[in-house]
Amino acid sequence: MKRFSGLNLFAEAFNGHKGWPEHWPDKAPKAAYDVIIIGAGGHGLGAAYYLAAKYGITNVAVIEKGWLGGGNAGRNTTIIRSNYLYDESAHLYDHAVKMWDGLSQELNYNVMYSKRGVLMLAHNVHDIQSFKRHIHANRLNGVDNEWLTAEQCKAYCPPLDIAANARHPVLGGALQRRGGTARHDSVAWGYARGAVARGVDIIQNCAVTGIRRGPDGAVLGVETEKGFIGAKKIGVSAAGSTSLVMRMAGLDFPLESYPLQALVSEPVKPIFPCVVMSNTVHAYISQSDKGELVIGAGTDAYVSYSQRGALHIIEHTLAAICEIFPIFTRMRMLRTWGGIVDVTPDRSPILAKTPVPGLYVNCGWGTGGFKATPGAADLLAHTIAHDAPHAINAPFNLDRFRNGRLIDEAAAAAVAH
């Protein structure tokens, strides 16, 4: 691996950049590995990286049916935050946020983690109660999250409209200053390059067609388009395709996959300094370093793998954006796209061992997986390496759907009265 640095960039400039090697050489699969990770998204590549870098397991392959980073890793709106309510969630996401800091240096790959702050807007009394609850819980959990008045919100994010006669007036907000964004592709690529440098094979365009199990039920390896590949441990990190992969191992999962749309505007000069989320109005927005407004839309209502969303979702999303940011009506939508998000009944992830010996799963991140990338990757690697979950991910097991010990952040924010 040739080190990335300003100095080397400078040197290569005089060399026509001929000296930069491949990030990830094309590899034919070996007959067997110690660990196979299914799914080369940020989580899967990261897990391979940490297996090699942190847990000393380098005989690892990441198998991907398409191109690495081509799923949700490359299709999300890159929001990073950890101001979750429940202890379990706060610890999980904060583990990740702490790892985001310094990730560029760790990977020697600039992932452009930008702590520009995530501001969540409160529009009614119920929102305030809910946000205060989050803020107090976060404070005692050591997670930064602070209350801003409407005027402070406006000062933090000048495009915001805080008129009192708005349909959903801004009454204040919860700000996590450590929250922010990162460059999605760079995360996947940085982990891939780092993993490869430590001996991991990345095998792209190789769909898994089956999971082979021995007489004792334990995994023996995977059947793929490129033949059988052996492994005693298999980690599944396949996002929207998890149900399909788990069924190959005979497991039915509490998951449903929904299309989630996002869009960007044409680039403009800096106008939007932070990330703003409004669950009441359904608006999620930031501005990329390139200048595009990056906007998260809603999920379509039905299970789908089509990556093809509906126009009315876009209409509602942009109406919501312009309600809160009325100066943006003349901005123009440049590109829309869809991802497939896998959702559990309590909308919290599953990061656990499965009933099949040697089979581990990381799924159910819904719309929030990007922010967890380093943490989820590390914890998946830990769980595989130790054949046991880390204390942080232990609550995110499969048993909770049987015993009722759900971790339901969304229900906790439920609106009623």
Binding site: E22, H23, V125, H126, A137
Partner: protein, 954 residues
């Protein structure tokens, strides 16, 4: 010829000059001009700066493919639109445009230093650097990068315009109004159905507008269209997305072509069109050639030169060189020569060109250089000449010229075809993907189907200049400054998927979305990878076809029409009384009624005291209401609710608790049995629709055998709560047909009669702990009855109270509010509602889930009261409760405060909370750690007032 304007020709109206400005300098054009044609006519070559290197750039194309000539158009401070393509901006009197992404001026842009050091910034450079020192990314590098990036400026003021949206339906929708599209529309019209023809330009005609030879035919077709009553023609309308089942999104630009003073009505209209059949006639976009110097202002597509000359009467230069790899460049050169433009030479990279073309060029007096290529373009802000050489090698010869036209072949516009998931097939002759098999009822015609004679060409990505690619500034994506060598670098660094190459280089990701760069990029990648293009695949086309404003997509939903505000029938009265409102789900409700200069605390204390001591009235109309009718009504409710319903006598009410099937509390409310087969249910305000939907689900899909029906009556009834020791006295004079005495009409009963002459369902219920009534009257009479009660109550000191007082009063009694004291993770047992769970019922919705191990495990949070040791200390709702405040962070939390108020009746604060094993902690001290202090409180029963209920039963 005046400047670059030809003395004749074009479709402009020379009798209507229009004054406009660009970067503050005044110019003149004519009606029918676009901003681009008027500027070129005025001798302007420099239109903008590129995204990354801030290189000077000129016009490339005359349509949606234009990557460089992006301008901001100022129609007043709140009406600025950035990033518009100059060729697509119709000229009008007084138009004000300015260039972008430059400082301090277009001619002298400081950030062009990026270009000087461009070798430091190849594709993906940002991944490789800016990592040291660690904090500098956020504080130094990123702010600088952000400032240099971006194109125009976002508007900064609220847009005063409004936008329209509509649905439309037709049998055939034709997208694209060129000759092929018009012909398709006429064919469809002859079948008699409803036909829509939409086109993004100001007038129909497409490519034919730039071809004198077709004008007569075009006019004839337009006449036939005008005569076809079943054809709707929408010009200035962009079909931007093709969605499921022939659903097309299109934006119609209604006023931007008019001077602001003449613009009236909505600015844009979103068309949402459902078509039986879609005919795509979107034409094709010409491809640039990728060679060193191809981005000097004045180097543009041959089709642009042709359009400028034939449609707008503008010479692209005084001496034009055509660089061709395709016959169409020759045709364009000949057309230009015929229009009076001097074509200095045609340089064709091909070794052989048809004799017809060569003869025609010779006759037109154009020098011809077959098998040659331009190896350098001279000039910085404008072309001053080119050097060309046979075979693209050697020193070559220099030729003076002031414009270079590129003819690199054609890319059929398959965008919408691809949105609709139609297959694409690589075609060698076109060097492009053509429509294959459709999924939807859709077909492509004309050039976008490959069914149009554009001539033939050598579609090649091999650079005409044979020098090392790394030494060349040969641009593929002009706006994003992606050079051929960037694509080679991406491949060298291991990017093998076209998606990776695209993302690594940003080729095709600019505001033109790759209309001129995608296929050139693909061919260069193909060469670099050593694999055929067809094996590499194509990046996905996604809506929109071209950028569309947020305003158009927002449609009706702007400002006051964003979302309906639901208001109760008594809302007007509250507003007249200057009530302070709050939003509760999609309703607005009066929160309190301040008198004089009262703040909320003072108003609420006064309102609470009035209810406890005399009487108050409250608008409860927003509560959800469902009429449950049918012989099986009681059986149905028995299955839905946790408690038994069959034994409830007509005329009596019961508190109902509704769980989700997972066992957690979903909703609650008091419901009444009006008759054996009729119940009047109430739900929470926010839960009404959810509860009805859930009940319909069970009724229709699980228990379809039951004879019972559900009807929402939320909006049928206005509900007026009259609460307090004098409640009976207030309403008694107004009520007839009901014996109001405590014996005849006990707590939790319902009667029918009249009040103030209006039929009523009168509930004797209380959410305050006082003697109380909830008066249901038809919504249309709600305000009249409210006012009658208000008048009648005057003698008793009646006060109107809002939701906040309602919350305080119920909290004093420990009545829960679903969604505030519960949060979707609480069971009836957690909330101390065991009494509301039918122990003998074999089943109800959610019962089985309550038996899961964790639902009754020790440590669950339980609903309790909290009294702070300092009686005036008000806990904050949401504050966390701990058992030991001296533990370090992360500090174990045992629960949180759900409700907290100042109680007028108790002269102190009260709070409700859910804490782990709370009931076992009653009497114990817990702690609420706040910033800077720890508040001590005692755990109590969740009941602070009149525990015996004597007031309520009075």
């Amino acid at each position: 010829m005046s400047g670059y304007r030809l003395s004749t020709g074009g479709r402009i109206d020379r009798s209507r000059p229009l004054a406009f400005s660009f970067d503050g300098q005044g110019y003149q054009g004519f009606a029918g001009d676009s901003l681009a044609s008027a500027l070129v006519a005025s001798g302007v070559t420099l239109f903008g700066r590129s995204f990354k290197y801030h290189r000077p750039r000129g016009l490339v194309g005359m349509g949606p493919e234009e990557p460089n000539a992006l301008v901001s158009v100022d129609r007043g401070p709140a009406r600025i639109t950035p990033n518009l393509r100059a060729p697509q901006v119709a000229l009008h009197e007084g138009l004000m445009a300015k260039s972008q992404n430059r400082w301090p001026s277009l001619k002298f842009d400081v950030a062009a230093l990026n270009d000087v050091f461009g070798a430091l910034f190849p594709a993906g450079f940002y991944n490789k650097t800016f990592m040291w020192p660690r904090s500098a990314w956020e504080h130094l590098y990123e702010p600088v990068i952000r400032q240099l990036a971006g194109l125009g400026d976002s508007p900064v003021a609220r847009d005063p315009d409004h936008y329209d949206a509509t649905y439309a339906h037709c049998d055939v929708l034709v997208v694209g109004g060129g000759m092929a599209g018009i012909a398709a529309a006429l064919d469809a019209a002859a079948q008699g159905g409803r036909v829509f023809l939409i086109d993004e330009q100001d007038e129909l005609g497409g490519g034919a507008l730039s071809d004198l030879a077709q004008w007569a035919d075009l006019n004839a077709l337009k006449d036939r269209l005008a005569a076809a009553a079943n054809v709707t023609v929408l010009t200035r309308t962009v079909a931007f997305g093709y969605y499921h089942q022939n659903f097309i999104g299109a934006t119609q630009y209604l006023t931007d072509h008019l001077a602001p003073a003449q613009a009236d009505g909505p600015r844009e209209r979103l068309w949402r069109i459902r078509a039986g059949e879609v005919v795509l006639a979107q034409g094709a976009i010409e491809r640039p050639l990728v060679f060193h110097g191809n981005d000097v202002p004045g180097v543009m597509l041959a089709s642009a030169g042709r359009t400028l000359a034939l449609r707008y009467g503008v010479a692209v230069g005084q001496a034009v060189v055509v660089m061709a790899a395709h016959d169409s460049g020759w045709r364009d050169a000949l057309a230009l020569a015929q229009a009076g433009v001097t074509v200095a030479a045609i340089i064709d990279v091909r070794g052989v060109v048809s004799a017809d073309l060569a003869d025609a060029a010779r006759i037109a007096g154009i020098a011809v250089h077959i098998g040659s290529a331009i190896t350098a373009v001279h000039g910085r802000h404008a072309v001053k000449g080119v050097t060309f050489a046979a075979g693209g090698t050697g020193r070559g010869a220099r030729l003076a010229c002031d414009a270079v036209l590129m003819a690199g072949g054609w890319t059929p516009s398959v965008h919408l075809w691809s949105h609709a998931k139609g297959s694409l097939v690589w075609n060698d002759a076109w060097g492009a993907y053509l429509p294959g098999t459709a999924i939807e009822n859709c077909r492509a015609v004309g050039a976008c189907a490959g069914a149009w004679d554009m001539g033939t060409g050598a579609i090649t990505a091999v650079l005409p200049n044979r020098r090392d690619v790394r030494a060349q500034k040969a641009f593929v994506d002009f706006q994003n400054d992606v050079k051929a060598r960037d694509i080679h670098l991406a491949v060298q660094e291991g990017m093998r998927s076209i998606e990776h190459i695209k993302r690594y280089t940003t080729n095709g990701m600019a505001t033109d979305q790759g209309k001129t760069s995608n296929l050139n990029g693909l061919q260069i990648a193909s060469a670099a990878l050593g694999r055929p293009v067809a094996e590499i695949g194509l990046t996905t086309f996604r809506p929109p076809y071209s950028p569309q404003t947020f305003g158009a997509l927002m449609g009706h939903h702007k400002d006051a029409l964003f979302q309906p505000v639901r208001k109760s029938p008594i809302d007007d009265w509250a507003r007249e009384q200057r009530a302070v409102f709050e939003n509760v789900s999609n309703w607005r409700r009066a929160r309190y009624f301040p008198v004089g200069g009262e703040d909320m605390e003072a108003a609420v204390l006064r309102e609470c005291a009035a209810v406890r001591n005399a009487v108050g009235m409250f608008d409860a109309s927003t509560l959800g209401k469902i009429e449950v009718v049918g012989p099986d009504a009681a059986e149905f409710l028995n299955r839905m609710y946790t408690n038994p319903w069959k034994g409830l006598a007509p005329g009596r009410c019961r508190y109902g608790l509704l769980l989700r099937e997972d066992g957690f509390i979903m909703d609650d409310g008091v419901s009444a049995r009006m008759a054996d087969d009729r119940f009047h249910l109430t739900t929470t305000t926010g839960g009404a629709a959810r509860v009805l939907g859930m009940m319909e689900d069970y009724l229709q899909t699980e228990w379809a055998d039951l004879d019972v029906w559900l009807t929402s009556t939320t909006e049928q009834w206005a509900v007026i709560a009259v609460q307090g020791p004098r409640a009976r006295d207030v309403i008694a004079p107004l009520v007839s047909g009901i014996d109001l005495s405590a014996e005849a009409f006990p707590h939790m009963a319902v009667r029918e009669g009249t009040i103030a002459g209006v039929p009523t369902r009168l509930f004797r219920v209380s959410f305050t702990g006082e003697l109380g009534f909830e008066i249901n009257v038809p919504a249309s009479a709600g305000r009249a009855v409210w006012e009658a009660i208000h008048t009648a109550g005057h003698a008793f000191g009646i006060v109107p109270y809002g939701t906040e007082t309602m919350h305080v009063l119920r909290a004093e009694k420990g009545f829960i509010i679903v969604g505030q004291d519960t949060d979707g993770t609480m069971t009836p047992f957690d909330m101390g509602l065991d009494w509301a769970v039918g122990k003998k019922k074999p089943d109800f919705v959610g019962k089985r889930s309550l038996a899961r191990p964790d639902m009754s495990a020790p440590g669950r949070k339980q609903f309790i009261g909290l009294l702070t040791e300092d009686a005036q200390e008000l806990l904050e709702e949401g504050a966390q409760v701990v058992a030991d405040p001296d533990l370090p962070i992360p500090m174990p939390m045992i629960g949180h405060v759900t409700s907290s108020y100042r109680s007028a009746a108790l002269g102190r604060t009260v709070a409700l909370a859910v804490i782990a094993d709370g009931r076992a902690r009653i009497g114990q001290t817990i702690f609420v750690p706040m910033p800077g202090k720890v508040i001590r409180a005692t755990v109590t029963e969740p009941m602070f007032y009149d525990a015996q209920g004597s007031r309520l039963n009075a």
